[in-house]
């Protein structure tokens, strides 16, 4: 019955790991047409489903067993919840009569995931299943997207019930608003018309709602520069004319100055995260703020909003585009150009024969990639360098753990992306710290011959934490040096993957070219300068125009 429901929902692939409580489910999979990717740790199954969902826009589906199987999903669920990724997670539970008895492999996973799911269910009988499955898919993939978990006791898998499945469903307490309020849209049009120093500040909502093309038209028609949060990268081309980069802690100087000096911020599908706003009291004091978001609770949560518009970002931007005229922003764009010329992002140019710089590696990956390349990053310095130096040109092409900051996300997410988009090149940019959090998935990529480049930015330390120790903790590098890491080339080879090592610029370029030309998984161990830090930087809870610059240009 579950597989029949998944078929009705158009699910082609699930990610999972079997166990006692889901034996009946896995037994039906044995001769079903539905594809299943076996991972080596349940956390990788969620991240892979998350990557798959970000690329396809459809909910990623995960199977896991009760107890530890379910609790291993927790980090991945929290990650998807923070980044609004649609997932449907099906976990086995101990048989109904054992619930609450501390039975073998029992964990209250609906209780545990209550705060990190959009909704969750504990199924009581098979009769409830069709209704719950259909609600779960509907909730996960509508409104503000998010993960939904369904916990199914083992005996329920064995029950028979009438299967009447309806993909449409009505839930009394759940009615997302898609169309923006006409009066508010008119106010927004007027505010944009009157603005002299406007910026568009867009985020993940642009990508989830498929608003990239309308955003581009709107920015170009009204001549408004675009700033994208980490989650929004790709919604406007990273090498586009009006693009100012990412704002906030490791954002570009121009983006931070523009937000500070703007008289109008058109915030679309963003949630004003602390990494973006810095010290709230000093954030964008000169600006009127229009905030367009599908989630009313995001409006006014962190920042006071002048013109709130609740609705689907794409629909609202389409309305705005119809009503907008070219703006008077020439002088403002000139000012911005001055900042851009004066404050480029440091590229870490090194002396000839000097240590390999991570920024160079990312820039080479970007240069040698086509516009359809999908990048999945892990978390840390390499993530910020990727955000700064990889020109993401399309939406759904930059997969990163934005809200939760989950080390270990990137590699499995790249697996999901690989399966979601068989034609596109997939690169996992990771670090020696992050990679070791899900390194076991080398078995999955080798076993399934998954074509991807794993670019390991190896600086021998937990670089981002080390950077903070460097700046805020008097260089007391407490437990951030990763002694005892393996030879990553040998590890990859032991799993049966190809592996290369690069220690100079020339080797780096050659290795990237070779990896891109090779079918199947290739790992490149880029041994980079361990002293390199990410700049520019704004210290936490400081005004975003108070910028620490550094590094080589």
């Amino acid at each position: 019955m579950i597989l029949a429901a998944l078929e009705k929902e158009g699910v082609e692939l699930v990610f999972g790991f079997p166990g006692g409580a889901v034996l009946p489910l896995y037994d039906t999979l044995y001769d079903a047409p539905l594809k299943h990717l076996l991972v080596r740790h349940e956390q990788a199954a969620v991240h892979a489903a998350d990557g798959y969902a970000r690329v396809t826009g459809k909910p990623g589906v995960v199977f896991a067993t009760s107890g530890p199987g379910a609790t291993n999903l927790v980090t991945g669920i929290a990650n998807a919840y923070m980044d609004s990724v649609p997932l449907v997670l099906i976990t086995g539970q101990v048989a109904s009569q054992f619930i609450g008895t501390d039975a073998f492999q029992e964990a209250d996973i609906t209780g545990i995931t209550l705060p990190i799911t959009k909704h969750n269910y504990l199924v009581k009988s098979a009769e409830e299943l069709p209704g719950i499955l259909s609600e779960a898919f509907y909730i996960a993939s509508s409104g503000r997207r998010g993960p939904v978990l369904i916990d199914i006791p083992k005996d329920v898998f064995d029950q028979e019930a009438y299967f009447d499945y309806n993909t449409e469903c009505h839930i009394p307490g759940y009615n997302p608003t898609y169309t923006g309020h006409a009066g508010q849209i008119s106010r927004a049009v007027k505010a944009i018309r009157d603005a002299r120093r406007p910026v568009i500040f867009g985020g993940g909502g642009l990508i989830r709602s498929g608003a990239s093309s309308v955003l581009r038209q709107l920015a170009e028609k009204a001549r408004i520069p675009v700033i994208l949060s980490l989650m929004g990268l790709g919604a406007y081309p990273g090498d586009g004319e009006l693009f100012l980069g990412m704002p906030g802690m490791h954002g570009s100087v121009t983006a931070n100055y523009a937000l500070t000096e703007a008289d109008l911020i058109v915030a679309t599908g963003v949630r004003f995260d602390d990494r973006v706003t810095g010290k709230l009291e000093t954030f964008a004091q000169n600006a009127k703020i229009i905030h367009i978001d599908i989630d009313p609770a995001e409006i006014g949560k962190n920042v006071v909003i002048d013109i709130p518009i609740v609705g689907d970002v794409r629909q609202v931007l389409e309305e705005l585009l119809r009503k907008l005229k070219p703006g008077h922003t020439a002088k403002w764009l000139k000012q911005i150009e001055t900042w851009q010329n004066k404050y480029p992002i440091p590229i870490g140019s090194s002396n000839p024969g000097g240590a390999l710089k991570p920024q160079f590696v990312i820039r080479e990956l970007s240069r040698l990639s086509d516009e359809d390349t999908i990048v999945a990053t892990d978390v840390g310095q390499h993530q910020m360098w990727s955000a700064q130096h990889f020109a993401v040109r399309k939406p759904n092409a930059f997969l990163t753990s934005g809200g939760l900051g989950t080390m270990g996300y990137g590699f499995p997410a790249a697996i999901g992306a690989r399966l979601a988009a068989p034609e596109n090149r997939v690169i996992c940019i990771t670090g020696d710290g992050s990679f070791q959090m899900n390194i076991q998935e080398l078995a999955t990529v080798v076993n399934n011959k998954l074509d991807m480049t794993i670019a390991l930015i190896n600086n021998g330390s937990l670089g981002m934490v080390r950077q903070w120790q460097d700046i805020f903790f008097d260089k007391r590098y407490s437990h951030t040096t990763l002694k005892g890491s393996p030879d990553f080339v040998k590890v990859a080879e032991a799993y049966g993957a190809r592996a290369l090592r690069a220690t100079t610029n020339e080797e780096a370029t050659a290795a990237i070219e070779e990896a891109f030309a090779t079918k199947g998984p290739v790992l490149i161990d880029f041994v980079v300068d361990p002293e390199e830090n990410v700049y520019p930087m704004v210290a936490p809870n400081r005004p975003i125009n108070e910028i620490i610059t550094g590094g080589d240009y």
Binding site: T110, P115, G173, P296, G300
Partner: protein
């Protein structure tokens, strides 16, 4: 400022946990909470008293709306509403003090619902001020135990807080 929220919620397992969990998770303070059935089968009504500024309350209401089981949230503090709470008080009552207690209870239109050789249980209904006042007076005799239902409230007039 204190706000009284009326929340209509699908009467499903875990609905109460979802709501109370939301309050603690987001750092909102619940003063008290009362739950019961409504005239519509399957729908329960919670009355929650919560302390906070207008901005905080707006965020509370929006977050509550995000819960799938929550059908409607109304802030009754912005409207004329009747608010009541029921309190049971077990008070020390030796033979000599019983009539004095009785008098206080009558003044507050309460009821004596149980009498034992050295104590009485008093039932009293009202708003905060009234309950606090009688508590203060009975304290002189020695309050042994108190239980309160939490506030419930209805809008005045013919308007109703309904699911549709």
């Amino acid at each position: 400022m204190k706000h009284i929220l009326a929340i209509l919620v699908e009467n499903k397992p875990g609905a109460l946990t979802r709501i109370s969990g939301l309050f603690s998770r987001r750092g909102f303070n619940i003063d008290n909470i009362a739950v019961g059935e409504t005239i519509t089968p399957g729908i329960a009504r919670m009355t929650i008293t919560v302390e906070g500024s207008e901005t905080v309350i707006e965020q509370v209401i929006k977050q509550l709306h995000k819960l799938v089981n929550v059908i409607k949230v109304s802030n009754l503090s912005n409207e004329p509403a009747v608010t009541r709470e029921l309190m049971l008080i077990k008070v020390r009552a030796e033979t000599g003090s019983r009539s004095d207690i009785q008098q206080i209870v009558e003044t507050f239109r309460g009821k004596v619902v149980d009498v034992s050789p050295d104590s009485m249980i008093i039932e009293v209904t009202g708003n905060d001020d009234k309950l606090e006042a009688i508590k203060l007076l009975l304290d002189n005799f020695g309050i042994k135990e108190i239980v309160r239902t939490g506030k419930v409230a209805l809008l005045r007039g013919s308007r109703v807080t309904r699911e549709a």
